[in-house]
């Protein structure tokens, strides 16, 4: 008896977003079906993995990830070039951690100078991230946006507390903007509406519904992403049609499972592989639930997710 595949088609489509410029420019989104559902619709763009680089040495990363970058992590330009040239990164996410008042309180001007240097050095698209201190980020990201004018890169994250200034800066300098809210489809929708009401083009937005790590709330992010994607496609809700981001690495490399040595917890097995697998499984889960772009840290985890993406093509 022949089996008739029950295909689904939707009225909605995710916006296609161009990032960067020149030969290494990229685009994400554009799909009119759920992630990796190319068998019943169009998925013109592969998900993109941006590798994370910081403006200061990553002292709060676990030793296993610090070691991988120990020769370059003191210098954001060297670090970014290492990721681009040696590790084949398709994009770089520069997190301005050092601007956080508790982590060095680097000035907005100095941060902007770092952004400029990194932008001049790399060819792949850049994602500029604040330190997630809502107040300081407004000052830092405004300067950073000016430094990145015309580069068609991404800046973020705009949150409920600070979206006005950051969205205005992104608009003035023609950058793409990440809008982050906290694990709720309605909050994501509300923030995207507020930002577009300022005159910001919704086709230049990236939705970050807030990430989480395996075993530490993964199922919340996973389901919020699935709901956003379904609302964008099945209900054709344009507010939820920007591509989605999963900023996975920073959540993964904080949890105990990526740090506790095997000696203390023999039943958890090898720490090196456990940490990499924790990041790779977390990140690939969010690709399945709807993310179009990932931010990751460990090169081996990035490598595994790239292989996974390749195997997902039928």
């Amino acid at each position: 008896m022949p089996f008739t595949p029950p295909k689904e088609s939707y009225n909605g489509k995710i916006f296609e977003l161009a990032l960067g410029s020149g030969e290494k420019a990229l685009a994400i989104g554009g799909e009119n079906v759920l992630s990796f559902h190319g068998f019943e619709g169009s998925t013109p763009r592969k998900p993109v993995i941006a590798m994370e680089v910081q403006d200061i040495a990553p002292a709060d990363w676990p030793q296993t990830v610090q070691d991988v970058y120990k020769d370059v992590s003191g210098d954001p330009v060297a670090w970014a070039l290492h990721c681009q040239d040696k590790l084949g990164a398709e994009a770089i996410a520069l997190r301005l951690t050092g601007t956080h008042p508790d982590k060095g309180d680097i000035s907005a001007e100095q941060a902007a100078a770092t952004v400029k240097k990194v932008l001049e050095a790399i060819k792949v698209p850049l994602i500029i991230l604040g330190s997630n201190h809502a107040e300081k980020d407004t000052a830092v990201l405004v300067k950073a946006a000016e430094a990145a004018k015309g580069s068609n890169c991404v800046i973020g994250k705009a949150q409920e507390a600070n979206y006005k200034t950051i969205a205005a800066a992104a608009m003035a300098n023609d950058l793409k903007l990440i809008a982050m809210s906290e694990l709720d489809i309605n909050l994501s929708k509300q923030l995207n509406i507020l930002i577009t009401q300022m005159g910001f083009d919704r086709e230049k937005l990236i939705t970050d519904p807030m990430c989480s790590a395996l075993s530490y709330g993964l199922e919340y992010t996973y389901s919020v992403m699935e709901r956003i994607k379904l609302a964008a496609l099945a209900q054709n809700d344009p507010v939820l049609q920007p591509p989605m981001l999963a900023d996975a690495g920073m959540y993964v490399w904080k949890v105990k499972e990526t740090q506790a040595p095997e000696a203390g917890l023999p039943e958890w097995g090898s720490l090196a592989e456990r940490g990499i697998a924790w990041e790779a499984v977390t990140a690939s889960s969010f690709l399945v639930s709807g993310a179009d772009m990932l931010i990751m840290r460990h090169p081996a985890a990035v490598e595994a997710v790239k292989k996974f993406i390749a195997e997902m093509e039928v």
Partner: protein, 446 residues
């Protein structure tokens, strides 16, 4: 295809006798359509109606049990495509492939690893659930020797026998009578003989098809041969094929009522590259696999996959809660800070994560607030001065502290006076509002 309440009503006696416990036959029909009651509760339904309704009221994905006793795994009975709609029902089983080409010592080692795989994770005992005994040698005697070894060493662990040779199947299954094994490997060339062996051993039959067309053909034929319990494989091996076929199968069973594919699915994730294997297995966990076959047991891989399965199969309608108690983070001494928060799992994860990260040893009191976060719990009257003080007093934690000081979340700063009144001898300190303020707050005190 599932019948509607009205269609079911037409097949009922329409006497409104109330013997089923419902006020009317229509009410009973409506509940039946939603699978909230069972047809057995109607004593007067005709045989003819029973047959029609039985067919229609069977779950769209047939329940099949793998193994027997305390390690038995229930599979199937899923009702939705997305976990936000409703809880996924029966967590998938992880099975490790053990080839009959291995030496006896190597096979024994793999069996031991399965037995040793159990870990305790957030209050649940999790383990590699099953052994997939694979007739890679093509030799019936080798498969039987492996089956014998597995049955001796791990008599309680559920087993899947994989072979395309009915004689090898019969001999191997002989070691697992009454154990609800699965016989995997029925294909277009061997179906009748494999069905006989499965029936004789009361094993479920694992259909190994080349594609979805052949799959629905083979399950139909197996049913005609009297096989009820099946596990199905569409032949998907690449990750993208697994997603495609599992999605089509789940949709066809649930939305179109296609019985030919209404069975638990078996997926194969084993790869030479074990990191990739973890991701492919993870895909099967998320997207509708009921048995996921792995190449090898590794403790790190187990932890990752068990955790993922636990996350995906939690009930989205029930806030995840952490047990009420005072948790130690690091190795706190009598002078270490003592903080309190609520028992919503995300709150706990974020707060404990920040504390762990800043490496200041602390005690963290997690109070039962019915799974609500701090502000919500405060607004709902679950996180009040009297409840907090009662919890702190009953915990006896004051004895362990040099100075009785409690740090409360900044969002409930308003409670500090009331708690101080109710906890004589305690100093109440207001901490940061958000967990990400904790590292700076704690380091400033150290």
């Amino acid at each position: 295809m599932a019948l509607t309440g009205v269609e079911i009503f037409k097949l009922l006696p329409k006497t409104n006798c109330k013997k089923c416990g419902q006020p009317t036959c229509l009410a009973f029909a409506m509940k039946l359509a939603q699978r909230q009651v069972s047809l057995d509760q109607c004593p007067d339904v005709s045989e003819e109606s029973k047959q029609k309704l039985g067919e229609a009221s069977a779950p769209p994905i047939r329940p099949v049990t793998l193994g027997a006793g305390t390690r038995a795994v229930k599979m199937g009975e899923e009702t939705v495509l997305f976990r936000h709609e409703k809880k996924f029902v029966n967590p998938c089983a992880f099975a490790v492939k053990i080839e009959d080409t291995l030496s006896e010592a190597d096979a024994a080692k793999k069996i031991d690893e399965v037995l040793a795989s159990e870990i305790d994770r957030v209050g649940q005992k999790l383990r590699v659930d099953a052994m997939f005994l694979s007739n890679d040698s093509g030799d019936a005697a080798k498969l039987e020797a492996l089956a014998k070894l597995a049955a001796q060493k791990a008599p309680d662990v559920p087993v899947i026998i994989s072979t395309v040779n009915p004689d090898a199947a019969g001999a191997a299954l002989g070691h697992f009578s009454g154990k609800n094994a699965v016989l995997y490997g029925a294909n277009a060339g061997n179906l009748p003989a494999m069905a006989e062996k499965a029936k004789a051993a009361k094993a479920a039959l694992g259909i190994a098809a080349k594609n979805l067309d052949e799959l629905s053909d083979l399950t139909e034929k197996a049913k005609g041969l009297g096989i009820e319990d099946m596990v199905i494989d569409s032949g998907a091996r690449k990750a993208g094929e697994i997603l495609r076929d599992n999605t089509y199968i789940r949709r066809a069973a649930l939305k179109k009522g296609i019985k030919q594919v209404g069975y638990p699915v078996i997926n194969f994730a084993e790869r030479g590259d074990e990191m990739l294997e973890s991701l492919v297995a993870g895909l099967a966990v998320k997207k509708y696999g009921s048995i996921v076959v792995l190449g090898a047991v590794r403790k790190w891989k187990d932890l990752v996959l068990f955790s993922l399965r636990q996350n995906i199969y939690t009930d989205p309608q029930v806030p995840m809660q952490v047990q009420q108690k005072v948790y130690k983070i690091g190795e706190p001494g009598p002078k270490s800070p003592f903080l309190i928060t609520t028992n919503f799992s995300l709150t706990y994860f974020i707060v404990s994560g920040e504390i762990e990260n800043c490496k200041v040893p602390c005690r963290l009191a997690v109070m039962d607030s019915e799974g609500l976060s701090v502000l919500t719990a405060w607004a709902a009257g679950k996180f009040t001065a009297s409840r907090i003080s009662q919890f702190i007093t009953e915990s006896g934690i004051g004895e362990e502290l040099e100075q009785k000081e409690l740090i409360i979340p900044g969002y409930v700063a308003i409670l500090s006076g009331a708690i101080e009144d109710k906890l004589p001898g305690w100093k109440i300190t207001v901490g940061p509002r958000e967990a990400n303020g904790l590292p700076a707050f704690l380091k400033a005190r150290a």
